[in-house]
Symmetry: C2
Subunit: 395 residues, 2 copies
């Protein structure tokens, strides 16, 4: 059978066609009025997409680059920081903070779980200079309570900064960045904005900008104050990834279209879409007797535990070989134990129903259990129908 190659991975995600054509056709030099206009429009739109009045910077790097920037710009060697970790991306915070000589307090919960707020409350003391966390932990499919965490940091901290890796969280999670007092929020292009990897971005609070005047960790390419100064003049400090800016401009227009001209509303629509795809997928997985890996599942992706005695690598391989559908295996110690189906960005009803249909064949092949064809699809359809009726009633 013919197979279209489709990504169901939590990044890179399926590309928006309008972003592809914008990227392919863009040729302007970066020190021109044309690029400057695009750059300024994108930065302004990114504020609306993120939902903040804080300055937004867009850098040529992957998400980890801006994670590093938030460590190197906001801390000095020896600073006490708190890392909240529940998976491979939480562990990346620990690695980064240690690399820059921070005194790292690590609060970790087992893979698949999220934090109890009371445990965080016990660790946020006034001497903690920054708290690092994920909005959604892409390695386990868990969702963290950013609002709850922010409240603790703002209440118990003393000028303590809250840095949130929302690389898979932006566009899949309702976040009130300014209202909750998130100091740095981080995103990446190959996620809900439906573009290839290559750009990462952050919104930075005034409190965080002020911190940078005193911090001493070494940084150069990722010097956010330098980027901020350049951005005020309508340019970047170093050569920007111009074609990806063009794609980002197109992606933001698409999101604005989803909100019928209102970008903030479009972002909420995008989040609702991920929530619905995720709810359909969870219902579908459960209908097949599968267990979710996370006790607090995110809308960005659904991590599903492999059935007992089955290596999830076999499931991933079967999806690829029989359908050319790329789903993600577990990472690190989770490899073989779970597989991950993403809902970040450019997914719709047909994608969701299609991958669940395929999952039924995959399960029938890699396990000896009998699979009732249509069972997961039906469960997902029931979720969709309930949501659709609500949407219709609201028309």
């Amino acid at each position: 059978m013919l197979h279209k190659n489709r990504l169901f991975t939590p990044g890179p995600t399926p590309l928006l066609p309008a972003a592809q054509t914008a990227m392919a056709s863009f040729t302007a030099h970066h020190r021109t009025a044309d690029f400057k206009a695009l750059f300024q429009r994108v930065l302004a739109d990114m504020k609306e997409f993120i939902g903040t009045k804080n300055d937004v910077l867009v850098l040529a790097c992957s998400g980890t680059g801006v994670m590093e920037a938030s460590v190197s710009n906001l801390t000095s060697p020896g600073d006490k920081v708190l890392v909240l970790t529940a998976g491979k991306f939480g562990e990346r915070w620990t690695g980064l903070a240690k690399a820059f000589g921070c005194n790292v307090d690590v609060l970790s919960v087992p893979y698949g779980e999220t934090f109890l707020l009371e445990n965080i409350r016990a660790r946020v003391t006034p001497d903690v200079r920054a708290v690092f966390v994920q909005a959604t932990e892409s390695s386990t499919g868990a969702r963290h309570d950013v609002q709850g965490i922010a409240k603790i940091v703002r209440t118990q901290g003393n000028d303590t900064l809250l840095v949130v890796d929302a690389i898979t969280g932006l566009g899949t999670t309702h976040l009130d960045v300014d209202g909750w007092g998130v100091d740095v929020i981080i995103g990446g292009s190959q996620k809900a904005l439906m573009m290839p990897p290559g750009l990462a971005y952050c919104a930075v609070s005034e409190r965080a900008w002020k911190r940078m005047d005193a911090t001493t960790s070494p940084r150069f390419y990722f010097d956010l104050r330098k980027e901020r100064k350049s951005a005020a003049k309508g340019e970047t400090a170093y050569t920007p990834a111009t074609s990806l800016f063009a794609a980002l401009g197109a992606a933001l227009e698409f999101v604005r279209g989803m909100g019928k001209g209102d970008l903030a509303k479009g972002r909420e629509e995008l989040v609702n879409n991920a929530e619905l795809c995720a709810e359909m997928t969870r219902a579908g997985a459960k209908a097949l007797g599968l267990k979710l890996y996370s006790s607090a599942p995110a809308a960005a992706l659904t991590a599903i535990s492999a059935p007992d005695g089955v290596d999830s690598g076999k499931i991933v391989k079967e999806f690829r070989e029989s359908f050319d559908a790329v789903v993600a295996n577990g990472q690190g110690e989770m490899k073989g134990k779970l597989f991950r189906i993403a809902h970040i960005g450019y997914y719709d009803y047909l994608d969701t129903i299609g991958i669940l249909g395929a999952l039924e064949h995959v399960l029938a092949r890699v396990t000896d259990r009998s699979v009732e064809y249509g069972a997961s699809v039906r469960a997902a359809q029931q979720v969709y129908a309930r949501s659709h009726d609500v949407a219709l009633a609201a028309r």
Copy 2:
């Protein structure tokens, strides 16, 4: 919810990404060695795609242009021709033959049906100069027995030419053009070759080339002998649609890849894919209590009768509004009575399962019957699973 715009229409069909990028990036002038090389490679590959040793021509027009060419090049005013018609495209043959002054004998069957060979046998007399028919009648979803018809023409005719509109048939139907003795077979770019409209092609037998020496109908742009002479020199008579040639080259490479390097085998794979998508769709429709419009359903598309008392336009509209999925209404008198879901070219398992899932919601919305969610999907999955097991056993 986010909706991807998807075509399930029997042309235009979903575009192959590699064809899109080839088309977008092609800039060569048409009177250059670069274009000549592309042109000659495409014409050679087209023979393999069509499955013929006859000369193939590719013209800048839609399929109707080459239908006209086959009338204007192969007949003279007053010639007796037989048109076999079972729908809107059969009727187009009648219109064309009359426009060029032929003495047209029309053998028609009701919409949705195909011909009894004995009725054709009674009409093919030695004085019939040409027989015009469709391989698949896209307006009704019917498949005609080209092999059986060819046998009659070759046996009972006297130098009678058989002209087959295989615009939706090529790449969806197993055809032995040379073995059966089809004189002219016609295709179009926006069908199984997964490209936009703008090119149409035909393969022409020696018998047909010989006929052109004597025919007197007026033609200029569509003069096939002039195109043949130009093609022998590696060029077209008039300006070719260069970017579409680039797309066609990429599409043919894709089909070759489906055959693991063998283009003819790839074409058979493409046909098998359409056959399987169609069988899944027919099973899905029946599982919902729907009736197929045609008694002889083609693999190119499935025409489904609207349930009693429901205008199929409502179904088409609901597919579009709720899922941004474009399915075709009936044409002419069939408008309102049926809707058509295509399987031509670039479709796969996920598309097929997705559109059937959507169909269940659409039916629930436009009828007052209760729909069992997952029922049509399950029926399609059972068809897929049976076919897949056969494929696996053959691995």
